[in-house]
């Protein structure tokens, strides 16, 4: 109950940030552009954390490749943003993005068709991660691959995608990825209005994802997932088709992660294959572990607190960050198995 109040309070504070950003700089309540853009970014991370928690905390699917779904969502919106640049690129080509002109493309590859439409790009930001998760999940779950083996497969998946996206002939900008975005939905990016709009869109996505995740976890499906997590074969003998259930949450989780990536990219202004790096996925799992897996609030808490720590530490002592992250993970595993949320006890499930 108190937890819910804290959550509502936190959302209200977040919602006030872009408004406070509009205050004159000398006002004591003024919030800097930096804070707004970083908070907007963290909100998309929090959505990714929710997605991971749904799969891992509830269904026991420890995916070390969720960064890939996030990045794919980012690439989908990135393609749209690239198309919107139109003739304003350095080469001034009416249709082709700069990198294609540079690489000697004569026309847009077929898989770029449709991305000039925003709804299509958003749809793809969900569907591509969803379908990929569906295929990988179906093959893995049907063969009853669980635990470490599944984690390794998902880690390999994101690594393979990183290598693929590094290639120039893939048609996704190679190692430079996409950047120099101009506008989205008619709004020039890099204005306070656009920042505010993207921020609120992210906040809405967070609330939507929270609503969907809690719909799932509070339903009987949520209890079936916990059952599968704790005693998979028992669930099978009760007549539950474990493959179907795992597939359902894995795909749902990947789609949520994809949407988070789609809101992340316009806020940071760049997407490149580095987003697929295995370390990103592992870091996101650590957020959830630190906050407390198996509770949705824990995932949010972890995403915000670890990223706050990261932002602070990478300014004061950048070399220490990876050690701190590793140390944090070990410390939480050993001393706080239920994560930070465990400190507030009572908050079960």
């Amino acid at each position: 109950m108190t937890l819910r109040l804290v959550l509502i309070g936190a959302v209200l504070v977040l919602a006030a940030l872009p408004a406070l950003n509009r205050l004159p700089a000398e006002n004591a309540l003024h919030v800097s552009d930096f804070i707004v853009s970083i908070a907007g970014k963290w909100i998309t991370y929090a959505v990714l954390a929710l997605a991971i928690d749904l799969a891992w905390g509830y269904a026991g699917i420890l995916s070390l490749g969720h960064g890939a779904f996030f990045a794919l969502g980012g690439y989908a919106i990135g393609m749209h943003l690239m198309r919107l640049i139109g003739p304003r690129g350095v080469y001034g080509h009416p249709v082709l993005p700069d990198f294609m002109v540079f690489l000697g493309y004569k026309e847009l590859p077929w898989y770029w068709l449709g991305f000039d439409h925003f709804p299509f790009a958003i749809l793809m930001a969900m569907l591509v991660p969803g379908v990929l998760a569906g295929v990988v999940g179906y093959l893995a779950f049907r063969s009853r691959i669980t635990g470490v083996y599944l984690s390794i497969i998902t880690q390999a998946l994101t690594y393979a995608l990183m290598l693929a996206f590094f290639r120039n002939d893939m048609g996704f900008g190679g190692n430079n990825g996409f950047t120099d975005f101009k506008e989205l939905l008619g709004m020039p990016l890099n204005t306070a209005a656009a920042r505010g709009a993207l921020f609120y869109a992210s906040l809405l996505l967070l609330l939507g994802a929270l609503w969907i995740c809690s719909r799932v976890t509070r339903s009987k499906l949520g209890r079936v997932l916990v059952a599968i997590r704790d005693a998979e074969s028992r669930a099978r003998f009760l007549g539950y088709d474990v493959t179907q259930h795992k597939l359902f949450v894995f795909v749902l989780s990947a789609m949520i992660a994809g949407l988070a990536g789609a809101l992340y990219v316009p806020q940071v202004g760049i997407i490149n294959p580095g987003e697929f790096s295995p370390g990103n996925s592992i870091e996101a799992v650590i957020w959830v572990a630190v906050g407390g897996r198996g509770t949705l609030v824990g995932a949010l808490l972890g995403a915000f607190s670890v990223n706050a720590l990261k932002t602070w530490l990478t300014t004061v002592a950048p070399d220490l960050w990876l050690f701190a992250l590793g140390g944090l993970f070990v410390a939480v595993t050993l001393f706080l198995p239920r994560g930070l949320i465990g400190l507030f006890s009572r908050a079960q499930r």
Partner: protein, 245 residues
């Protein structure tokens, strides 16, 4: 009417050259309560594994009514109407007694159906009736993790009842129970049988006597003797495997 519910013929299971089951045949009729006894390693649990699809037989016929069980997976077999209680009680520790039973309740099992599921008054009454039957009504909202050993066994039996199976397989229900709990369990199983077939594996001969049912003795993967408990206890071959070592 006279068609058996469970029909095993010439079933063999080989693990790395070791015959855990060796040409086992067994017939269980509708509504029958059957006790299975046998020394450690006789193949009792393996027999249940074969019936529930966990282990595939190397040879033999395994039929449940008309269904060939050797071709089906665990979930399909469970949904045909075969429920199983494991030797080591396994339930969902993070869930309450009520939630464990709710998951076991016969209802559509797909993810979307589970997402949309609403607990109706009818379902609640069924769950409450089963909690009453297995003596766990007072523990409804306790997590399964904190139940005593005996209560965990009953919760497992309760979960079987929720599935409303035609055939129940119960592996060592009274291991580690007090005498009073054992009596309670025997009475419970006798009550359950009749409406459905029940196969009970147990070492405790006092308990098997209390069931008052036909007894099958397994040894080294095949049937050694079959009949009433008195018949079986006086069978020289049985005396030999039980006492001769």
């Amino acid at each position: 009417m006279s068609e058996p519910v469970l029909y095993l013929d010439g079933v063999s299971v080989v693990f790395d050259g070791f015959k855990a089951l060796n040409g086992l045949s067994l017939i269980v009729d509708a509504g029958e309560l059957r006790a299975i006894i046998g020394p450690n390693g006789a193949g009792k649990t393996t027999m249940m594994d074969v019936i529930t699809g966990k282990t595939r037989p190397t040879a033999g016929v395994v039929r449940f009514r008309r269904h060939d069980l050797t071709k089906l997976d665990e979930a399909s077999i469970a949904n045909l109407g075969i429920g199983r209680k494991f030797q080591k009680p396994t339930m969902f520790d993070a869930l309450t007694v009520f939630e464990n039973l709710e998951l076991a309740l016969k209802a559509p099992r797909g993810p979307l159906a589970c997402l949309r599921w609403v607990l109706t008054g009818e379902a609640r009454r069924r769950i409450e009736a089963v909690m009453e039957e297995v003596g766990l009504a007072a523990r409804a909202h306790d997590r399964a993790a904190i139940l005593s050993h005996g209560q965990r066994q009953w919760l497992e039996i309760g979960m079987l009842l929720m599935q409303d199976p035609e055939l129940l397989l119960v592996d060592e229900p009274v291991a580690g129970m007090t005498d009073q709990e054992t009596e309670h369990t025997a009475a419970l199983l006798v009550r359950i049988a009749g409406r459905r077939s029940v196969v009970v594996v147990e070492h405790d001969l006092e308990f098997v006597r209390a069931l008052g049912s036909k007894v099958t003795v397994l040894c080294e993967g095949s049937m050694l003797s079959e009949g009433s408990i008195d018949h079986v206890q006086n069978d020289p071959r049985v005396v030999e495997v039980y006492l001769g070592r």
